[in-house]
Symmetry: C2
Subunit: 220 residues, 2 copies
Amino acid sequence: MPKQTFLNLPEEKRKVIIDAAIDEFAEYGLENASTNRIVANSGISKGSFYQYFEDKQDVFMYLLMVLEQEKMAYFKGKHPPSNNMDTFGYFRWMIKTGMEFNTSHPLLTQAISRVMFGEGLYYGNTFADVRERTSRGLKAMIEQAIANGEVDPSVDVELAVMIMETWSNAISTYVLNEGMKQKDIMKWVRSPRVQERIDKMLYVMEYGLRKTESEFTKSF
Amino acid sequence: MPKQTFLNLPEEKRKVIIDAAIDEFAEYGLENASTNRIVANSGISKGSFYQYFEDKQDVFMYLLMVLEQEKMAYFKGKHPPSNNMDTFGYFRWMIKTGMEFNTSHPLLTQAISRVMFGEGLYYGNTFADVRERTSRGLKAMIEQAIANGEVDPSVDVELAVMIMETWSNAISTYVLNEGMKQKDIMKWVRSPRVQERIDKMLYVMEYGLRKTESEFTKSF
DNA sequence: CTATAATGTGACCTCCAGGTCATATGACCT
DNA sequence: AGGTCATATGACCTGGAGGTCACATTATAG
């Protein structure tokens, strides 16, 4: 985590630095990011950088924290459209709200998902706990759905979690990769065409999950 | 592509070199692979390396070719268990046979999938044509399924392709990541527990695809 | 106004990357 | 035997990485 010297900095200066770091990680990932470029682009000296942070991974951890906080704040400001929503409806709402957030912070999101789903898969363990946390959230959700009778109780919870994670990742990768090609990513992601596509992906997942287990066990 | 000098080499020497390259790419990916290490681990000199290949990407392209050829040879030696199989059954068979191949060449597979699904996503374009080829194959498959009446004709073909690709990637990532932790990856992947898990994932996908569209359009 | 503590700086360090090249080796021909 | 040509070698080059440190600058306190 950043040292005190960094936290003492005037907000504006901090912003310049983390923006430069975001640009760097978004373009090069963690492994290939260059502290030299970060300092050059943020107009601080090499010495200062090491007075603020341990190393580039330290910066990245800070970004991770920033993202987590901002995302939580964003979700707190929103409310699901309806109160008596089933679990899948809630999951759809979460994914879509998440996409809205992502497209409003495209570079930050890109930087973090690059590292987490790219390098993190192989240089594992470092980010294992972050992934673990979201897994637990999804697990609670699917258990809720089973308790509500929305999902067959014989469903393999671990499997369902994996499926939800897979789709959540696939959708956010799709939105980021395609969206970055557009001139206005927000407008693009809100277009009916894209929204319908996301809906369809989620419905395919949902129907598969709802109906598979009973059919599957029958077929053996 | 490798130069003639490399192809002139005795098979055994070539094998030592490409094995060292596979190890390197599997552990470090393309971007962070080191020609120095490859050279050291294969016992050849720096000068020779550049007499054999243009650069490390050249080696990687060769590996890609080797993989493609070996996979094709492998599939030619196998036959679907039944002739009157529907499209999804065929897809399941393909995925499973592919997994068998992957686990019998775990390092080669790891090396290539790391680069293709990790770095390839961001340093795009270089491998776009390889991905494009598999997409076209899946597209033909899903169109066949529609023609056979197995899938609702109103289905969004592009979407179905994306879903199949997502699952194919997710499963192979899962098998590689988990499998590499086991002492005998082949035995592990063939165990009923793992086979059932793969089956379930594919069934969730299949039921989603089979049944979603009509339900989906109704729900609007 | 001066003394002291905090912050800022960039030249410099080591390390290793990708890549080159003059030179050495040795297989094969006449 | 000498000559030729493909192959093999590792010292060497440049460039950029992460990281350090003696010194310069600025804020704070007495």
